[in-house]
């Protein structure tokens, strides 16, 4: 198990009811974090429309996460 701080933005924050939470998760990648928190909070946004950052760097879903990492989950963006 790893201690991961998960941060939620916009729609994800509203779904989760919190802007961040510290979770003990059995995860290897950013994708694992996305899937486990999606199940936890009932979000149904397609993965392909979402983005992720690890420790304040834009990341891929295959990015490995380590104990103590911060994972930022971004719902579909809409600038402009």
């Amino acid at each position: 198990m790893k201690s991961i701080t998960v941060r939620y933005f916009a729609l994800f924050r509203e779904n989760a009811g919190v802007s961040e939470e510290s979770l003990q998760l059995d995860v290897e990648t950013a994708l694992d974090v996305f899937e486990q928190t999606r199940d936890r909070h009932g979000s149904n946004e397609p993965l392909g429309h979402c983005k992720v950052a690890v420790n304040d760097e834009m990341a891929d879903w295959s990015t490995k996460v380590a104990d103590g990492d911060s994972v930022l989950l971004f719902p579909p963006v809409a600038g402009g």
Binding site: F9, A10, M58, F74, G79, G80
Partner: protein, 149 residues
């Protein structure tokens, strides 16, 4: 320069800062809050950004534009917070030696800004309800139809 602003964008000041005697053309794109989207009447918009990464990614987009179009001067400012109808939500200014680079670079920047930056838009509708906008789709539509915002 890329910036996120909680306050109204001073478009006159933005334009003034673009002045460059090496430039023969200047293009600006302003994204405005409009009163309707997909058949629903919009009263106002709310923008949220994760500023540290929005700025970093925004600067990356501007650097890419400068690499594609040499001798380019480019600036973008994006609003956050609650915006009323007609407010400027995003300002992109590009000065280049010739008009072709100016038009193309301006288009490149706004298209990338819309789909890459961690910025989210919530529409507030007449009647009181609201919804987050998914602009992965907007960006695709924009590219196909020529619509800018």
């Amino acid at each position: 320069m890329f910036a996120i602003s909680e306050d109204s964008i001073d478009t006159s000041e933005c334009r003034r800062m673009m002045s460059d005697h090496a430039a023969g053309g200047f293009c600006v794109f302003e994204g405005w809050v409009r009163n309707v989207n997909e058949g629903r009447t919009v009263d106002r918009l709310e923008y949220e950004a994760y500023e540290p990464l929005a700025v970093k990614e925004g600067e990356k987009v501007l650097a890419e534009a400068r690499q594609r179009f040499p001798h380019l001067k480019a600036t973008c400012v994006h609003r956050t917070g609650l915006l009323d109808l007609g407010d400027c939500a995003v300002w992109v200014g590009v000065a280049a030696p010739h008009r072709d680079e100016a038009f193309r670079a301006c288009r490149y920047i706004i298209d990338e800004i819309k789909i890459r930056l961690p910025i989210w838009k919530k529409e507030h509708y007449t009647g009181g309800d609201s919804d987050w906008v998914n602009c992965e789709r907007c960006a695709t539509v924009g590219r196909h139809t020529g619509a800018g915002n």
